[in-house]
Symmetry: C3
């Protein structure tokens, strides 16, 4: 009778296109989660740090960090989607919806939107669209992810291949500005830096300068906080016999560290509106020191808004390598060996009040 | 004048049968404590994770994890009971009472119910009954514990030996189903697994498969969160000269890890109703990877309840040893060298609605 | 265009006497912060642990730990004041004002009150007075700090030297007893020890006996919780080439550990009213085991209060060295090599009800 109650998770042949996976472990998020997120990542964007700051911008309270929401939703999908994953291949078109406040309860469901067996017949690629919702059914997050998953039985028949087209970015019209947000009282002094949307230019590169060394206890606590159960992050005994000989840091923790480091240079990027594409170029381990730099890819005015604009940003994180010279590729054009993360995302940033392109303040509220 | 204000704690000859110890440091528990508990242990039972889930079952909010409550109450007793303990010999007949919610304030008191000096005259065994109460005076926890405590003065006279009889389990009639709990809306999909009380059978063994490696910072943070001051968990300098040469992990942290790991196989065991008996078979240390397996000892219908039943479960935790073959004893019948915890406890689990033995749904509310 | 958005912080020549620095990152403090503070330091003073205890003394809720407030305010000043600091030279006349409760939002501003270039012309000493305020504009903390800061350009002209006089202690009349505080219901049993103000005498020395070993993850999490961005605590890669070859523990973490250890001997020192002077005698590192001892410097009756008095206390923390013999100086009168902290501060403590000097209970409320 052994094992019959234990979940080994889904293997490649368990997925069907159109299948809906309702993930377990709904989570009421709290100020305790936010405090831990701050302590584990060094996050310090004013909107998430201060209820007074948030209320001055028209919100009811300080929303939780956007990436904390991402990790909470992502974590719920692991037991069903990626317990038997060989590799996280990518994710894209991730839109952040309603802001999440302490007391909200998040749950997640995923729809299988693509399946393709690999030529080896040992693995296949599963594409899912995942939606995170709050207790009112409002979407807080929506993204596509594709992972390489083991087959339980290499002899199982291959499904008809379906590979969804994934746009390379989230369109401006799909970006969500939180309801009620009004940036006319935005306080750059409290936020910690004077640079606004108007001050950035496509092609501009920013070395975020600061660095953060990762400890095993830190990435384990972060990953457990998100109720992400992927064993590669927690099981040293098994990892000793694995490819790297040690536990791998949850890639999302690197994204959070890079975002926190990016405060120095992007302090007024008060909200992540979208992740266009993300790739974990190499694994990170405890003891690694993470640095980051960013390039502004695009400046996106938002329809009907003179108070806020969007910046498309590419942030590169490295390990054990400062970023003063913006490391990206080596002489052969391959990824620089120090690069661990290549993230293309879109942030919201206040526009300058005296920006002539901004128009009348009375016209901006929608 | 040195030392007069410093508490060295009670020695064996300081205890008297019938003595009541009112422990210090009342604690208002919070969502911050629950977030840390999740981050430190990987807990993910839906009842404690989601206020929406809890409210659908008739509770006012998500209660704190049962073991978090246990550790908070236990921690308060350490300065008075076990500061000078040589060994935690066991505990039993632990009943979980009123659920504990964020904002409740817990305090604890213990009554000495047994004393017996050891033949060496250097130590003795102290038995206490400890009660944890909330701010309304309701019992949240009640258990017996016995510890071996040093004498201050080996020449102090031995007390008349008193050794209480400890029942080997908590009787079904003593188990507390939280007031207002109604499982008719229990959502197995949100809880993360389909298996209910009806699906388990005595003798069934479950390998929980997952594993968790312990870091020093993690067990120290957990133990401090519980305001447990036992120095063996924190003082490396002293530990270097001790029996193990390093800090010992608080045994309760192992119980919490085993409980969290048991989710994979016992996801619907939504509440610990009792700990019948517990034994820390061997110490654990940072770097150990904990695995767990369980055996169903008994199925206990609850009087007047068709919606919920109790399972008596024995969970064995090991270190650096997977549990696929259910390690328990070696060839000589002694404890398997990898076993660190042997816990006999009783959980509540929803009963299947179409269980013919369950009776009419209208009859189950009491 | 690189670097233009990145803050390198202020160098010595960027400061002007009278200059006001309004620091970024306002922070709404929460029960999550308090839970982490407990888990990271072992704090267990009853006033901060229990809302029931706090309400019995006339407060609306359990205030956050005084040092948690100190670290939160201090952390905000780092990007503007001490990012380019060579050394923290000292701080003094630190007064704790309005108690801080979960939900309060803290912000900080500093005024430059002194500047003196060093003879090397490479560095200078900056004196600032920092004030922490809550969302109602009430002062929660006010202190002076002086740091040695690098010059950007050694050729920059030296300012006229200004060195403020710093009193060696906070006067009794400046100490703040929280509004509404009434100690007539103070419960020593809940607080964990019987010793009150009346029981201490100037010159009395107390070995706090307990010890705490520091882990990298712990001091990093604490320092990030305070949004303190000083890179020496986080960047192992840079530290490897530095003076110590490893990350330095934030000095404030040592203060918090010493305060938590001091519970054993000063359990009823329910509030820090002032820090008269503080000096980090030597740096601490992960792996160090911290001990502490205290000397009562003075007993200070508070005008118009028979229920509460102040004790001026000097607490010495050591690393890897128990304090049974009160280590302070070596044979040559220099600081004992194990000493890491020398803190002179003032605590509030209840006075004994039957103290003849206390007067009529009816007279004590003001």
């Amino acid at each position: 009778m052994a094992h019959t109650k234990t979940t080994r998770g889904n293997f490649f042949e368990d997925f069907r296109c159109g299948q809906v996976l309702r993930h377990g472990t709904p989570r009421t998020v709290s100020v305790g989660d936010q405090a831990l997120y701050t302590a584990l990542t060094g996050a310090r964007f004013a909107l998430h740090s201060s209820a007074v700051f948030a209320r001055a911008l028209g919100l009811s309270d300080a929303p939780l960090d956007d990436l904390l929401v991402f990790h909470m939703v992502f974590g719920k999908t692991v037991p069903d989607v990626s317990r038997n994953a060989v590799a996280n291949l990518g994710y894209g078109t991730c839109v952040f919806g309603a802001p999440v406040f302490a007391g909200d309860t998040l749950s997640a469901l995923s729809t299988v939107i693509g399946l393709r067996e690999n030529s080896s017949a040992k693995t296949g690629v599963v594409h899912v669209r995942t939606e995170g919702v709050n207790q009112r059914g409002e979407t807080v997050l929506n993204y596509i992810r594709w992972v390489m998953v083991n087959k339980r039985d290499p002899g199982a028949p291959a499904p008809d291949p379906v590979v969804p087209q994934v746009p390379d970015s989230v369109a401006a019209g799909e970006l969500v500005v939180p309801a009620g947000l009004d940036l006319s009282a935005y306080d750059t002094s409290a936020a910690g830096a004077p640079h606004l949307w108007d001050d950035y230019a496509p092609g501009e590169r920013i070395d975020h300068m600061d660095a953060m060394t990762i400890e095993e206890a830190e990435h384990q606590m972060a990953t457990r906080l998100y109720q992400n159960t992927a064993q590669v992050h927690f099981d040293l005994l098994a990892a000793k016999d694995g490819r790297f000989g040690r536990r791998i840091v949850y890639g999302g923790h690197i994204i959070s560290l890079a975002r926190a480091l990016s405060f120095n240079g992007l302090a007024n990027a008060f909200r992540i509106a979208a992740i266009n594409a993300g790739r974990h170029v190499a694994p990170s381990f405890a003891g690694d020191t993470i640095h980051a730099w960013s390039e502004v890819l695009d400046k996106i005015p938002l329809p009907g808004r003179a108070d806020v604009g969007a910046l498309r940003v590419r942030t590169i994180a490295t390990k054990d390598r400062p970023c003063a010279d913006f490391p990206l590729t080596d002489a052969q054009g391959k990824a620089h060996p120090a690069v661990v993360l290549d993230l293309d995302y879109t942030v919201l940033m206040p526009r300058r009040r005296d920006d002539p392109a901004r128009g009348s303040p009375n016209a901006v509220r929608i």
